[in-house]
Symmetry: C2
Subunit: 511 residues, 2 copies
């Protein structure tokens, strides 16, 4: 029997679900495979319509979805309402991409004489791969869970999706699934286009199932590693797309500290405490120059943090881990405890509806000299904690970056007069991250065509992304037709088709 | 000490190379990493010029390269000369792709108000990943080895390459490397942009090295699995791009057997014996209809095969494995031995310069009922062997396809009047392969923009390809810039740049 807990109160919610039995998981995957065969008979326009219908269904059930997710995650109605919008937007963005068709990467090389002699005609496009397993995350009950970007991008590509519900928001998962399934069914989608399983064992059975063709996962490094170990034991390897762990260094130049230290302290406070610090893009280390300007910035950050109330974390595991990492770092003497909020926790907490038995975290600022940073100091604390690393020169920053793992993002706050120094800094940061942020904050990831959400290991283990339109590429493979009769070709590869961008004889052509 | 053997005579060649010691492998990879940092300062035009210079250098050393490769592989001067042309062509094709710039997948989303509120500006392109390990194949001493497509595509993306020379053509590898290295150096490329190691141990050290960022491999399923096991033990996972094993089913419809059975028998004979059957695209199973037309086709194939001389295989391991698989199948009674050539082997072999001590194979045709096919019957015999599978209906073919592994290619020979049946057949074949060939043969893979060379496991383990322009995508990762000052941006992402295709605010724009 599986249950979830209200993180504000620590009480178990009423919802009780059975863990999915192995034979049931097998049946769900087989239904997905049957749906895959059926999906192959529908065209892009049909599939875009399905994605729009799923977006509409999320919007229509918004109030109920937010209510149940708030009870299971404590993230608050405003944030959750925004997240439903984000999830619906993702389905609609992929619908747009599917209609536009560039994602097919269609290419035609006509036959004839070439530099290497006579050559056949080759026509290629990307095709779906089959059932995709998607693991919901703890921290985004909508946008990276059942109704999330992995689901939307896999479906957009023409693949059925089997979801593994995250254990800390089972009812949100079940409701999201019910909403999406009903909408898919009403639209005329084949049974099995969406499936769901519950429980850790079912998750393992899913990634080990021979018919599953790829896995999307957003979660902890340990969880990701466990799934990768299962995949390594499969007869047939499949891609694992994991979004795992990230420190997201943020560098404040001397010029920026001097010009707008207070403003940056406010922004940094807002970013590292947003969503109780439970974002994979949370800035975990801030490099602040030594000297009076840096001191003032840190003092401002300390003041904001000390005054702040405790906030609620998603579940007991996250809360325990957060406390352990913080306490170990401080006890080791590796870092200095600069600020710890939560003094008004009881009052603020009561006002927010959570109790001493809930999962709370006090916003925390730790301090260290940049040159003293080790991998241990830099262990990602999932929650509202930032390490302030003080530096004299950029060389100190580079020493620290060499000591810590790579990240999804790096951020630079600077002034225009420092352009040369910024270029030198960026040259050192770029190889370590997937996204470079300037004079802003890494949290609040825009969903758009150009966006992506990857970075060197352990940020992700892939050269792909779970955010933005190119996320669809993870669930597609190339298929080529050599000298095919036109009746065999997909519409998009026929000579008279002009509806999508294509590369013809090496030349890119617009629709 | 490492040596190679002349496959025509079985005598060890004069060349003796030392296996690369672990500390030497480490030094080669470190040099590659240093070159990577230096390459980041060169632009696309420079890199395209490097690729052209490498192509020119191959052409200039053509005669010597062919001579040494012929001695080590027995593939013959004509084929090897063509393969040098193919290798040079690949470098030039990637130069063209690098200049064109579409491979960067540049995208710009301007900032502003969106459906989800105010959003930052995001600009993205693909960037190189770092040192790439490339394992040379046995069967393509140029086009899939030191001077092959993995090398060309990795370099095209801006990545240094460390090669692992194939053990059966060490001198060809060394000479190819010397030619490419000298050309790179003369062009002004940094030391370390190309490196090479020799010996199985060095290959293992290479894929385990923390600075290596991806592995390209063309070879056996066993060899690929061994490398994947090493990669699974790394602290940091990296992509493994393997081209491994493929049966390449070829289906002859009743109409095609009736209309041009003899012609197809000739074409099939040419395809399964080309290069002594040592192609990953060799048709390993041919489905032939039962009845008089099919009988006549098979009789013609048997006649061609029985009359054919034995041919030389690449090395002792391949020759031994070929004999073992053939003998086991026949001894089991699982298949019938329909034809075995090589009766004129002594005379033809002597004329071709090879002796009884060389590694020879007799072209072989085995027969079986399609419904009796098992995975064992379908074990890939690397060499001139084809299994003829007789069928009554397409359902017999589908039963057989379910029993055998997926492939790089499938081929259909049919007549225009059979369009409906062909569509039904293609619907069943397409999920199992990467390329569908019509009324032709899968050997002779065109190198072009639209081409690719992948397929479901065990054909390859990836959704990418080692042939054609899109092979470059394997060695790139996305990097995004959020609200970046223009001085930080690569030229290709600046507003006033128009030199490459880009997607701006979701709309694809030509250069």
């Amino acid at each position: 029997m599986l249950t979830t807990t209200d993180p504000r109160t620590g009480t178990v919610t009423d919802t009780v679900l059975d863990a999915t039995a192995p034979e049931q998981t097998d049946a769900v995957v087989r239904a997905a495979q049957a749906a895959f065969d059926e999906l192959a008979t529908r065209d892009r326009g049909w599939r875009a319509g399905l994605l729009d219908a799923l977006a509409d269904a999320l919007d229509a059930d918004r109030a109920a979805l937010v209510e149940v997710a708030d009870r299971e995650t404590g993230l608050g109605p405003a944030r959750l309402d925004g997240e439903v919008s984000r999830a619906a937007f993702q389905f609609r963005l992929f619908a747009e991409a599917v209609r536009e068709g560039g994602y097919l990467e269609a290419a035609i090389d006509h036959g004839g004489q070439t530099a290497l002699g006579p050559a056949p005609e080759i026509r290629r496009l990307l095709v779906p791969i089959g059932p995709v397993a998607v693991f919901g995350s703890s921290n985004f009950p909508f946008a990276f869970s059942v109704a999330g970007g992995d689901t939307a991008s896999a479906l957009a590509g023409g693949n059925p999706v089997v979801l593994k519900a995250h254990s800390s928001h089972l009812e949100t998962s079940a409701r999201s699934f019910a909403v999406l399934s009903a909408a898919a069914s009403a639209y005329g989608a084949p049974d099995g286009v969406l499936g769901i399983v519950y429980g850790t064992g079912a998750g393992g059975a899913l990634v080990s199932h021979p018919l599953v063709r790829a896995v999307g996962f957003t979660g902890s490094l340990g969880g990701g590693q466990a799934l990768m170990d299962l995949i390594a034991r499969r007869d047939e390897p499949i891609p694992f797309y994991g979004e795992l762990s990230s420190l997201n260094p943020l560098v404040i130049t001397p010029g920026a500290a001097a010009a707008r230290g207070g403003e940056i302290a406010d922004g940094l406070f807002g970013s590292f405490t947003l969503g109780s610090g439970q974002f994979c893009t949370k800035p975990g280390i801030a490099f602040v120059p030594n000297g009076a300007d840096g001191d003032a910035l840190v003092a401002h950050l300390v003041e904001r943090t000390t005054d702040a109330a405790a906030s609620v974390l998603l579940n007991a595991r996250i809360a325990t881990s957060f406390d352990e990492i913080r306490d170990r770092l401080v006890a080791d003497g590796a870092v200095e405890l600069l600020a710890r909020g939560g003094s008004g926790a009881d009052a603020a907490g009561a006002a927010a509806g959570f109790t001493a038995a809930g999962f709370t975290a006090a916003p925390t600022v730790l301090g260290v000299a940049a040159r003293d940073i080790t991998a241990e100091v830099a262990e990602e604390a999932f929650g509202p904690l930032v390490v302030v690393a003080r530096y004299d020169t950029d060389a100190d920053i580079f020493v620290a970056l060499d000591a810590v793992p790579d990240s999804l993002t790096a951020t630079v706050h600077s002034e225009p007069a420092e352009a040369d120094a910024v270029n030198a800094l960026v040259a050192r940061l770029a190889p370590r991250v997937g996204r470079l942020v300037f004079d802003g904050y890494p949290t609040g990831v825009r969903v758009s065509w150009a966006q992506h959400h990857g970075g060197p290991w352990p940020a992700t283990n892939s050269q792909h992304t779970s955010v933005g339109v190119s996320a669809i590429r993870r669930f597609l493979r190339p298929l080529a037709y050599q000298d095919a009769p036109e009746s065999v070709l997909p519409a998009e590869l026929r000579d008279d088709f002009r509806g999508i961008p294509r590369r013809v004889d090496g030349v890119l052509q617009l629709a």
